[in-house]
């Protein structure tokens, strides 16, 4: 009967998307196997294609893909210029520079070997995959919807982030406007002087807009006196931050290879419980209410569960010492495809079906009005 659960189009809880994406990212961090990494990227791309909204943030996935390619290229270039060569297959013999003793350990130039390039490529690919997973979450979950789910104790912080994010597209428009103005005054529109000349008006404009926005928010009741005293509110926020930090340390210890599990789990549990206490305390006295909060129902459990499972499959494969997670680059070997992570990845792809379809705005009219913005 899962089919009938997601018939009604709605937004999935953004936190579910983030848990799913971070699970994929955690899986990626565990492996240098290029086949597995490429599979992770394909899973992310598949789900994004199936469930991404037609909104400005929905288009960011392509940007992250390009960023991923750039990361790989940079990683390989760094290897060529600075990296220590190893392996025997010399592709390009080059002279190296021996640096003075106070720079020992840094090397410039030298032979380029196939093995070292391969190692750099795997490393770059892993970083790129993690970035692409973050990009997937970014395009699937509306950033402002996520911030709406931020607990009341962190509300002020949430608003500042929302405002910052609405300003990013606005900044792009501003930069364009200033470029236009430069052309109209017969000045160069490219080159360093042009950029320097446009920076001031753009920032001045942004600053002025923030002040207007602050006035507008104030007139609409932002920051009204609540039942809670300022001191108590601050204590609550501090408590929540503390809890979050503890939870982060715990989660990191659990995920990162080589750190003790004994530290991870208790820290995570401690952090989460501190957070819960703080949230209940501030929720009791909150003035603010929330309009149509996103529910957490079966689809959310399925999507977040898929993320947790894929992370667990990679982690347990590492723990069970199943071979194939790491692909040796010296000597180069063809990567294997271990079964357990593969099964995890298949589960990770299920949100493409289990997540509910999105409510569709009237697309034609949305497009038509984009011209006005552009113009």
């Amino acid at each position: 009967m899962i089919g009938s659960l997601h018939v009604i189009p709605r937004w999935l809880h953004p936190a579910a998307w983030w848990i799913w994406a971070l699970g994929l990212a955690a899986a990626a961090s565990r492996t240098t196997n290029p086949l597995l990494l490429l599979l992770i990227i394909s899973v992310a791309a598949l789900v994004v294609t199936a469930r991404k909204p037609d909104a400005p943030w929905g288009r960011s996935f392509m940007f992250f893909l390009r960023l991923g390619v750039a990361v790989i290229v940079i990683r390989v270039l760094v290897q060529v210029v600075f990296g220590a060569a190893f392996g025997t297959t010399v592709l390009l013999p080059l002279p190296g520079v021996t640096l003075p003793s106070w720079l020992a350990g840094v090397r410039l130039g030298g032979d380029i070997t196939f093995e070292s390039l391969l190692m750099a490529f795997y490393d770059g690919l892993r970083l790129a995959t993690i970035l692409i997973c973050v990009g997937a979450a970014n395009s699937l979950a509306s950033p402002s919807r996520l911030l709406k789910s931020v607990p009341a104790a962190l509300y002020e912080f949430g608003v500042s982030v929302v405002v910052a994010m609405t300003f990013t597209p606005q900044l792009v428009i501003d930069v364009d406007r200033v470029r236009t103005a430069r052309r109209l005054r017969g000045r160069p529109t490219t080159g360093i002087r042009a950029i320097a000349g446009s920076a001031m008006p753009v920032f001045e404009g942004a600053l002025e807009k923030s002040v207007t926005l602050a006035a507008a928010m104030d007139s609409r009741g932002y920051g009204r006196r609540g039942a809670l005293s300022a001191k108590k509110r601050r204590t609550n926020s501090a408590l929540l931050l503390l809890g979050l930090v503890a939870a982060c340390i715990g989660a990191y210890a659990l995920i990162a290879a080589g750190s003790p599990v004994a530290l991870g789990l208790p820290m995570l549990i401690l952090g989460v419980s501190i957070c819960l206490v703080s949230i209940t305390l501030s929720a009791r006295a909150a003035v603010r209410t929330r309009y149509r909060p996103d529910p957490w129902a079966l689809p959310e459990n399925l999507v977040a569960g898929a993320g947790v499972l894929v992370a667990m499959s990679f982690a347990s494969a590492a723990w069970l010492l199943i071979s194939g997670l790491d692909t040796p680059s010296n000597p180069p070997t063809w990567p294997a495809l271990p079964l357990l992570p593969l099964a995890g990845l298949m589960i990770a792809a299920t949100p493409a079906i289990t997540a509910p379809p999105l409510p569709q705005p009237t697309l034609a009219s949305a497009r038509r009005n984009e011209i006005e913005v552009a113009a």
């Binding site: 929302v162 236009t180 005054r185 017969g186 008006p201 006035a215 007139s219 006005e372």
Partner: protein, 541 residues
């Protein structure tokens, strides 16, 4: 509902107060129009109602402002949010959320209303303002008129008893403006909301107003009264009132309908008298300054202009009209080479404008953009003039001399941001004219301009045209078009639907006809000045 008792407001650092000893009583359920020149203190008056002045801006307030019994001196804006809704001049600048529905709910969330109440009110407001189809749309993708209605809706959901609006229709085309005003009137009539709004376009709003508050500025006392009382001798008045004064109608009509009833004798007097023909005066170079030939421009898969063909010659003043988003700005931008063509040919000064680089461009064509402030970047007027002389490679002092002609009151040391909207426009115009381009393009020049500045602009444009400049102005302002244009082009969905002499195009259009034409139809008169000339000509001759 709102009472000002001996209110004076002085901004920090200012030597003289903006408002002096204001006494004002606004009863519940009235639609109040605040008028005055730019920079006279209208916005200050509006912002004092919910305490933004002085809580947010700083400055000192003496006297007392009571809003539904609450003193603004002790209640900051956030504590008045359930009582007063404020819609800022540029609605986009006040949006907090990114989707229409969430923006509507934001104020209620801050007030802590129960979820089911919020849900119901959002639905009601969507219906009330006709926003249902836009509910899931990102705010950035809305047109100007839609944004204005969302901004009104966003404050309405908190059920304020008072609604304060700063120039709600100045950026809108005539149709969208009527939608917004109709929504406001509905609030006043059905929900007993008190509406206070500032607006320069009196011809659009004065007929809806119960009361008019005149803020004369310069420390003169603020006066208020019923709309027809105040319009009798107000220094600024819409054409319908001016025509009424000219013809001596009593009581003074504020609506086209009332004026038409009174206009019978005037129509008879004018029958058979030829309306003045607009001839292009001055020396004329018949070669077109700019031409578009089967021009098509696209943004992605959307056509902004389709098969547009037209030319602008020297001595002409052409008004480009049409809805928001009809392609007006795109046409102007294409003519200066800011936007590439998809098909067809554009020639400005005989060349493809995309190929004209750097300072050569300013010598063939000048564009004053929608927000003239975009062109300005120096920290003083004098600095702006100097860099303009440099950009245009003309003798130092050229721009300053031009500015002295256009706006003699502007001082050298002023920061361009501190100038009034109208002064900024004239400064931008002076910068553009420094290189004396034969072709002048203006995008929406009358947004936020008061009547005196508009009259001055009209005079300047006529003189420039007489001096051989060709002028193309994109505008929503039907009165300006009627006053200066020799030709009108109407765009719709990127196509030219009408292109011809002003009288021919605007007289037959319900949307673009000026008030005088509507009152005197079927006689073909466009402006009060023309009628006055005809009548007094009769008297003397």
């Amino acid at each position: 509902m709102i009472s000002f008792e001996h209110v004076s407001i002085t901004y920090p650092g200012a030597t003289t107060p903006v408002l002096v000893d204001v006494n004002l009583q606004i009863p519940e359920g009235e639609l109040v129009l605040v008028v005055g020149r730019t920079g006279s203190g209208k916005t200050t008056l509006l912002r004092a109602i919910n305490g933004l002045v002085p809580h947010f801006t700083g400055g000192t307030l003496s006297g007392r402002i009571l809003v539904d019994g609450r003193d603004t001196a002790v209640n900051p804006p956030r504590e008045l949010a359930d009582l007063v809704g404020v819609v800022p001049q540029d609605p986009m600048s006040g949006f907090v959320a990114d989707i229409v529905e969430e923006e509507l709910a934001y104020g209620m969330e801050c007030l802590g209303l129960a979820p089911d109440v919020m849900r119901r009110r959002v639905e009601e407001t969507l219906d009330l303002l006709g926003l249902v189809e836009l509910r899931n749309r990102p705010l950035l993708s809305l047109s100007a008129g839609q944004r204005q209605r969302v901004a009104i809706g966003a404050v309405l959901t908190s059920h304020p008893k008072i609604l304060v609006l700063d120039e709600p229709t100045s950026a809108l085309d005539p149709g969208a403006a009527e939608d917004v005003l109709a929504a406001l009137q509905r609030l006043v009539h059905d929900l007993n909301v008190t509406v206070v709004m500032a607006e320069h376009r009196l011809e659009r709003v004065v007929q809806y107003a119960d009361r008019v508050v005149v803020v004369p500025g310069d420390g003169e006392p603020v006066i208020s009264g019923t709309a027809s009382e105040m319009m009798g001798d107000a220094p600024i008045a819409p054409p319908v009132v001016e025509l009424g004064r000219l013809a001596g109608w009593h009581p003074l009509p504020l609506t086209i309908r009332d004026a038409r009833r009174a206009a019978g004798p005037l129509r008879e007097l004018l029958t058979g008298r030829p309306a003045p023909l607009r001839v292009i005066s001055g020396e004329r170079d018949l070669a077109p300054l700019t031409s578009a030939d089967h021009l098509t421009v696209r943004y992605g898969d959307v056509f902004a202009l389709r098969n547009v063909s037209t030319t602008i010659s020297s001595g002409e003043i052409v008004a480009l009209m049409g809805r928001n988003g009809a392609g007006k700005s795109t046409l102007l931008n294409t003519m200066v080479g800011l936007k590439a063509t998809s098909a067809g040919i554009v020639r400005t000064n005989g060349k493809d404008p995309r190929e004209i680089k750097g300072s050569e461009l300013v010598h063939c064509v000048g564009l004053v953009p929608q927000d003239p402030g975009d062109l300005l970047e120096a920290s003083t007027v004098a600095g702006e003039c100097r860099s303009s002389d440099h950009d245009a490679s003309v003798d130092p002092g050229t721009t300053r001399a031009l500015l002295a002609l256009l706006a003699p009151e502007v001082l050298d040391g002023t920061h361009p941001r501190d100038l009034s909207e109208g002064q900024r426009l004239l400064l931008a115009l002076a910068i553009v004219l420094a290189a004396s381009p034969p072709l002048l393009l203006l995008d929406e020049p009358t947004r936020g301009l008061d009547y005196p500045t508009k009259t001055r602009l009209a005079k300047i444009l006529r003189e420039l045209a007489a001096g051989g400049h060709g002028i193309l102005l994109a505008t929503h302002d039907v009165e300006l078009a009627a006053e200066v244009a020799t030709r009108v082009i109407v765009l719709a969905e990127g196509e030219i639907v009408a292109d011809g002499p002003t009288a021919e195009v605007v007289l037959t259009s319900p949307m673009f006809a000026p008030q005088v034409a509507k009152i005197l139809a079927p006689e073909k008169w466009l402006t009060v000045a023309e009628v006055r000339a005809a009548i007094t000509g009769e008297a003397t001759g």
